[in-house]
Symmetry: C2
Subunit: 115 residues, 2 copies
Amino acid sequence: MEVKLGVWIRQNSRHVYGDGRQYLLKKIGDLGSIRQAALEMGMSYRAAWGKIKATEEGLGIKLLERTVGGKAGGGAILTEEAKRLIGAYEEFRQGLDELVNERLTKSLKKQGLVL
Amino acid sequence: MEVKLGVWIRQNSRHVYGDGRQYLLKKIGDLGSIRQAALEMGMSYRAAWGKIKATEEGLGIKLLERTVGGKAGGGAILTEEAKRLIGAYEEFRQGLDELVNERLTKSLKKQGLVL
């Protein structure tokens, strides 16, 4: 038996961040491009851009700086705040499943249930 | 900003318990009837019965005893193990959202982010 968790960070009842957004933002950071990240994730550029925009607006922080020209023909790099958001979410999410699993096991045991 | 959680207890990758199942089981206990519980939840009898069956099989415990005849024309009552499962899940779930919210806030603050 295991517990699977879904985590949705919401602002005014709207989804603004979570595991999927974290993955997307890291991928953009790694590849330096929204377009490349979207491609790798099987998502349209428009969808990826919309998600980033919704997070920026929801959280009130700027996540990406656009780079212009150069070999790559322009791209995107993470802002300092985006890096801090990724770091914070990583720390928060790390070990959360285990913590929740332990909590459930403890409650079940207290009731004499070993499932 | 708030964190919303989804909790899925799984056995061999199959969903066997969670917030919805807990609600259904409690409702059956309150009403003494799968049919009445299903009706109140806008669910078919077949769907409700299937969920209970999947939980029983997944967790390897019996949840309901059938009652026969009487004024209500037969119904269902919770087994001792079902009551313990409800109690355990209630304890586990109580305060979990707050705990996770605090964990996130702490990680964000450590990164100097107040969202």
